[in-house]
């Protein structure tokens, strides 16, 4: 690895101060769990390698998982293992637990953070679809203060986000309107362990009890476009429609049109399109099973 300096941030303000101080004169990188960054640094060309690394892994104020007046707030440094073990998340969003469980293996999940996963922003980012389907927001902190935006807009393209070099991702917020919304995440990889997604999908909707109809349906697709995308056509089709197996099949078919997969060494575009149809239908079925289970608990 090319040499660089490491500065350890004490809290999020200190991290932003360090970023501002060094961003002017050097190439700076934030280090959280390091599971993406270190692998990158080992292969980085001289022009990409940072001179300064700001280690945020010891910051305590970015580790909480809590329901606030605005929704469920998850600190950027919460690890995938912590998501899997959080009773709050388990109860409200089993889909998030399932998504976290598909990321790498134990060692990666122990170090890897939710924030790092989202900032890396690969098209197959496994925590992306569930959070996009839940209309999650992200809060970032920079020299000019905080700003908040939908996660769907935070993702810009492959490995590109709206984050500026001197900004820090602070938290992920699932808004109050999505709390407890039945959601299902499915990932298809070539192996069960340690495989990137060929396609990953999350589906989420409320059920109108009186009419047994879809309310606020959301379908988010990963690994089939430059970034995680909504299957907007399928969502529009489902809105207000009676819940039925045929509607879920049709939504899967429509979602294919919302995806723009590429062929690569993992799979052909054609195969990915088939996966979108199947996984979308299954994710809708999974979310409906959850909705029914929640109803019978009451």
């Amino acid at each position: 690895m090319r040499a660089f300096d490491v500065f350890t941030a004490k809290d999020s303000r200190h991290a932003v101060a360090l970023l501002a101080e060094h961003a002017a004169t050097s190439k700076v990188k934030v280090l959280a769990g390091g599971t993406d960054l270190l692998a990158d640094l080992k292969f980085a060309s001289a022009s990409h390698a940072p001179d300064v690394v700001v280690d945020i892994s010891r910051i305590e104020d970015l580790r909480s998982i809590a329901v606030t007046g605005d929704g469920l707030s998850i600190g950027a440094l919460v690890t995938h293992t912590e998501i899997m073990r959080s009773p709050l998340i388990r109860d409200m969003f089993p889909a998030m637990v399932n998504a976290a469980h598909t990321i790498g293996a134990v060692q990666t999940r122990n170090l890897g953070t939710l924030g790092g996963n989202l900032v890396t922003a690969v098209p197959s980012v496994d925590s992306g679809p569930t959070l996009v389907a839940l209309d999650a927001l992200v809060t970032v902190l920079g020299p000019a203060g905080r700003r908040q935006m939908p996660l769907a807009e935070f993702f810009v393209g492959p490995r590109k986000t709206a984050l500026k070099p001197d900004e820090l991702l602070l938290e992920i917020l699932i808004p109050t309107t999505s709390l407890g919304k039945p959601t299902c995440f499915l990932k298809f990889g070539l192996r069960k362990g340690q495989a990137l997604a060929l396609v990953n999908v999350a589906a989420s909707f409320w059920v109108d009890r009186a009419r047994n109809a879809f309310v606020a349906p959301r379908i988010a697709l990963g690994a089939v476009a430059p970034k995680v995308v909504h299957a907007s056509t399928a969502e529009a089709y489902l809105e207000g429609r009676a819940i039925a197996p045929e509607a879920m099949v049709e939504a899967g078919r429509l979602a294919v049109g919302d995806a723009k997969p590429i062929s690569d060494f993992r799979a052909s575009a054609e195969y990915r399109r088939d996966l979108v149809a199947v996984l979308t239908r299954r994710a809708l079925e999974g979310a409906y099973e959850l909705a029914k289970a929640k109803q019978s608990e009451k």
């Binding site: 660089f4 892994s57 362990g193």
Partner: protein, 162 residues
């Protein structure tokens, strides 16, 4: 250079290292603990697995400064001169390893699993080992050995277990 002080296998160790040095290289090159192996160097193979503050990590993906002040347990911290650790004993009895390169990492993953979950199912064992690649064995004898430890079977003297 950065000064790092950490607790390794119960002893306080200090070194002055370049900040871009990984924990794996710190352990192997500065402290002479060559149990953790350098395999892929990018987090895929788990040969470098050690336990930091109770959790397994790939030490090739952690910088030495990030380990400053933390508790690190490596495979060298398990056995004493007189006695193998029960997991090591079970691996020996089952013949769980062939070339052995993956062994230190696998054993640390097994240790972290059993510390948290003394009675894991086969699925839980497989999940715990998913980040440890073995190119020789096929994993079955490792899984059986870990089950033996969980059941306490390996405490029987060798030869009487059959």
């Amino acid at each position: 250079m950065t000064k790092v002080t950490l607790n390794v296998n119960g002893e306080t160790r200090t070194a002055s290292v370049p900040p871009e040095m990984t924990l794996l290289r710190l352990l192997r090159e500065e402290f002479g603990l060559t149990g953790a192996k350098l395999g892929c160097d990018v987090g895929d193979c788990g040969a470098c697995t050690v336990i930091v503050d109770g959790k397994t990590v790939n030490s090739c993906l952690m910088l030495a400064p990030q380990a400053d002040g933390r508790d690190v347990l490596t495979v060298e911290g398990l056995a004493t001169m007189e006695r193998l650790h029960p997991i090591q004993k079970a691996f020996e009895e089952k013949g769980s390893l062939q070339c052995g390169f993956c062994g230190p990492g696998v054993i640390m993953s097994a240790k972290a699993l059993l510390d948290e979950n003394p009675d894991p199912s086969v699925l839980e064992i497989r999940d715990a080992l998913a980040g440890n690649l073995c190119r020789c064995t096929g994993y079955s004898k490792m899984i059986e050995a870990i089950q033996d430890v969980a059941r306490g079977d390996n405490r029987q003297p060798v030869g009487e277990s059959a």
